[in-house]
Amino acid sequence: MMRQAARLLAKDIKLDLRSLENFLSMLFFAVVILLLFAFALPLDDESHELMAPGLFWVTFLLSGILNLNKLFQVEKENACMDALLLSPLSRGSIFLGKMAENMIFILAMQVLLIPLFSLFFFEALMSHFFPLLGLSFVVCLGFSSLGTLLGGLTTDVRFKEILLPLLLFPLLVPLLLAAVILLQSLISGAGLAAEADWLKLLVGFDLIYLVVSYLVFEFVMEL
């Protein structure tokens, strides 16, 4: 199953790298959000430190949803999704392949976003680069699991760009709350371990979203 998922992932990465359309639109969107916040908010360091965690995850969320909206788009052309479903590829492999693709592109964007964010808002953030990237990975796992399931569910819906965030955002609230608290803790210098309960909550939600989405995806594909 992992081999099949890896085949699908390799194909998707090849397609994405060929056009870079998804990645660039996601990155430019994130940069525009950061610029707008940078101009609109007070300039003092204290305000930036207070607002940084919220702003960081808002930027993550809004640019991430762009990638989710396009995740299954490539499978719609020439009814390629049907071709995948008609192949011996298990539905679980499709889910894992798509989820991994989404994670890779969002994490690649995070690698660029963290330096930009520290440039605009909070220089000291760069000193937490790797812990923040690790935290992004954990948040991204839950986001991508649930997002891939709901992205698959809304692929053929006419107003999917509206419906997907409507379904996804409320379910992500616990994940985002934990992410904000943990980033606050990171910025304050206390580290992630100081908020171990929130970290456990985050990992717990990741596991629930991953397992439930994996199991439900098969039924979603045959609706």
Binding site: R7, S19, V74, D82, A83, S87, E222
Partner: protein, 234 residues
């Protein structure tokens, strides 16, 4: 001869409309079935149910005596599908597409088989061309190349003649003849009865959710079949 494919009591509704009302049929290996019916009678829906793209409310599909639900991946590895859609990625080349889909099917020796198949369907000069630039006839030929590499045991065809010119139809039918001669089993949904008539062993007409059977062997000519079809579907 044992049954190769059998469907039993398949039912499907959309809203309050019961589209398929307990359908049964069976096919032996090497047989070809032509499925006819007016638009909206549920022919493509039935094909989607058999191939696993859609769940029936009732009923089961059996392949080689085993319920498909017990080994869906095994059934999908044994089947090939051609519809009016080409089922290829526009941004990948012909070779890349074939490599991806045939690897998923578990086909081996792809480095040798893919160039041979592209040569057989006349697409060798376009091996490294993106499929997005292909005409629908070329797309259909590429589909045949996929079947040549993946070597399915049973073919499902949903309106495969759509958008094909005379040469492509002839080429396509030649492939179907050779597939059947080699022991392949076929099910085709089509409105172009004349094109598939010479190949078909069974003819089923879907009318108001049920099958009307035409015994092909009892008929003397294609014209008589056409008259009977028109009477049933009227």
């Amino acid at each position: 001869m044992s049954e190769f494919l059998r469907i039993e009591g398949v039912e499907k509704s959309f809203g309050y409309r019961k589209l398929l009302k307990g359908l049964d049929f069976s096919l032996h290996q090497g047989e070809a079935l032509m499925l006819l019916g007016r638009n909206g009678e549920g022919k493509s829906t039935l094909l989607k149910i058999i191939t696993g793209l859609m769940r029936p409310e009732q009923g089961k599909v059996f392949f080689k005596g085993q319920a498909v639900q017990e080994d869906p991946e095994g059934f999908r590895a044994a089947m090939g599908v051609i519809s009016h859609q080409i089922h290829f990625y526009n941004e990948l080349t012909a070779t890349e597409n074939l490599h991806f889909f045939c690897a998923l099917k578990g086909a081996e020796d792809l480095k040798e088989k893919i160039p041979q198949a592209l040569l057989a369907v006349g697409l060798s000069p376009f091996a490294n061309t993106r499929v997005g630039t292909f005409s629908s006839g070329m797309g259909k030929r590429l589909n045949i190349a996929r079947l040549m590499v993946a070597e399915p045991e049973i073919l499902f065809l949903d309106e495969p003649y759509t958008g094909l010119d005379f040469d492509s139809i002839e080429f396509f039918n030649d492939y179907l003849f050779s597939f059947k001669e080699a022991g392949g089993t076929l099910i085709m949904v089509t409105h172009q009865i004349d094109l598939f008539y010479p190949l078909s062993d069974q003819i089923l007409i879907l009318r108001q959710g049920r099958f009307q059977r035409i015994d092909k062997h009892a008929k003397h000519s294609y014209e008589e079949l056409l008259i009977q079809y028109q009477e049933i579907s009227a």
